[in-house]
Symmetry: none
């Protein structure tokens, strides 16, 4: 009964560790203890399986993020919260997380492809979240007068880098996590 889930979980893990092209449907079937045709019974094909993982992964992430949002006194608390959420989330869901932040297979490069749409939406939501924090923090006088767009991209890039280390290279990021937050605090706050 849970065979569809087995397929999804096994595929997610293999796509992360071996890449989409480096993973065969035969291997997914073998490691999920199902027969190969069952993959094609539940999904239109390997591509569709990948898209499905991406979509459900992205949805789950935002559901978690939404539930995690809290009102905080300072804007920096929000950014800190966001970084912490990301790292805790990726710790619990290393595979799905990685696929969304990592580049998807080149063959899905068409911007109209569902994968590109999911990834784009993912980035937009995250960037708009950070942008609001920084804008507000500057307005309130909490933050230095940093260039907004670039700072958003930089923090995004840092968070993605941390997630990548955590999910792909399986390095613990415990100490790194704290260092990063302090690094950002000193760079953003007027009075760190």
């Amino acid at each position: 009964m849970g065979k569809k889930i087995d397929i999804v979980r096994t595929a997610s893990h293999l796509f992360v560790t071996q890449g989409f092209d480096g993973t065969t449907t035969a291997q997914i079937a073998r490691e999920a203890n199902v027969t190969e045709p069952l993959i094609f019974y539940h999904f239109k094909g390997k591509d569709d399986l990948f898209s499905y993982i991406l979509k459900t992964g992205s949805d789950k992430f935002f559901a978690g993020l939404e539930a995690h949002k809290k009102d905080t006194e300072t804007e920096f608390e929000k950014i800190k919260n966001y970084i912490n959420f990301n790292l805790r989330y990726v710790g619990k869901n290393p595979d799905e997380s990685f696929l969304v932040i990592s580049a998807c297979p080149a063959k899905f490069a068409d911007p109209d492809h569902i994968c590109q749409k999911i990834i784009k939406r993912h980035k937009q939501i995250i960037e708009s979240y950070l942008r609001d924090c920084i804008k507000e923090g500057i307005k309130k006088g909490e933050f230095l007068n940093v260039p907004i767009k670039e700072t958003v991209r930089l923090i995004s890039l840092i968070v993605v880098g941390l997630m990548r280390q955590r999910s792909f290279q399986k390095k613990s990021t415990a100490g790194l996590n704290k260092t990063t937050i302090e690094f950002c605090r000193r760079s953003l706050l007027k009075n760190p």
Copy 2:
């Protein structure tokens, strides 16, 4: 005559844009205007071609870095120099750079594989370069008393993220570049 170079250049580009597994020797041959067996005349196989690119790419990078090293008054100048060098280098050699910093195909996961060795050496050299700067900066009183290992990893991660954007997503990083340096300056220096 220059056919070996054509193969290497074409392969580098395709490996970056499509991944190792997503690139076929047939495609490399076609786009390099050579026949497929010629690839196997010059290289032992597709794996060997990849390793060759990685090795020469890494060597070239360090040759450039070595030539670029200057004695500067402050340690932060050195870090700034390093960031700038990376971004200028990746602008000129987007393909080779990317392959070294990006994860290599899962099938080369064996730590004894030459690719893993190249990548490991690459990381070590970069990290030791940054570590020296930070250690020295702290000793001199130029930098705050930041945790060394984590800060090195964080800056590495930022630089890799910038290179990734530049080489893979082809985004210009002009503004981002400057913002990043200021971001680091405020975080590292006692008197920014």
Copy 3:
């Protein structure tokens, strides 16, 4: 309730337009608005479904032919009647007709296979019908002294060709029909 009939009708049509091997049980199920296992509930398998169609098609054809036989003054009237019946029949039952006259899938080539038996019987009945007409016509002095066996084969071949055009290529054969009868009349009759 009428689902078995839906399967048979849909399958007949698809077998004619796409061939036996070119038609999948999945497609039959889809276009008949049933689920695939239902086909296997009603028939032993795809082969059995085909045989069933062939058998009922052939039976229906002969029932119609029997009902259509009339006593006519001349033997040529009988042949004309036969040609007309065939074409009218194929107009109303294009699919079943075609399957009987067209060659059946090569995998049923074994002469002991039920399909071969049906097709053989079909040909025999038709040829014996025509043979009787021609024999009698020659004896009566109505027809020229044509070689019987070959003339039967020729007329069979013409009728099958007409049916094929009608059922498969969906060409109207209205004018062709009349021309054919006149063609035969001139060739067969002593005094056309």
Copy 4:
């Protein structure tokens, strides 16, 4: 060296006896004593192999027909010549002939598909040949005043039927051949 020809010949024969869908590339390879990938080295795919056979078969047929055309005293001699040529040709090239006259796989139904174009051209050339004979015969007073279009279709249909018997059912058509010509003679000529 002759392996490409082996593939073509084996495939032609199998397509005729088993149909396009009933023939697997594995079987073609096995019976042609080549490996399967070689088929795909010489042809883009199974479809392309089929189209190639159709095209070369049709071209060869017309080359033969052209070489066979003779000036004859009567128009009926031309038609007789044509029928004889067809049957002699199909005797020597049973496979290619059959594929051109037989319906091609339903999946190539698109009128823009090269197979449809070949088949259409084939029909047109044959019909125009016959049309010219009949038109001229009527004008000369050699033939009865038969309806041209329908008579062309009828004779085409007869010839195709004969070829089909010869090539597919492997029946000898020696006697049938002569009977057919006499049949047509009586039907067409004013003074048979």
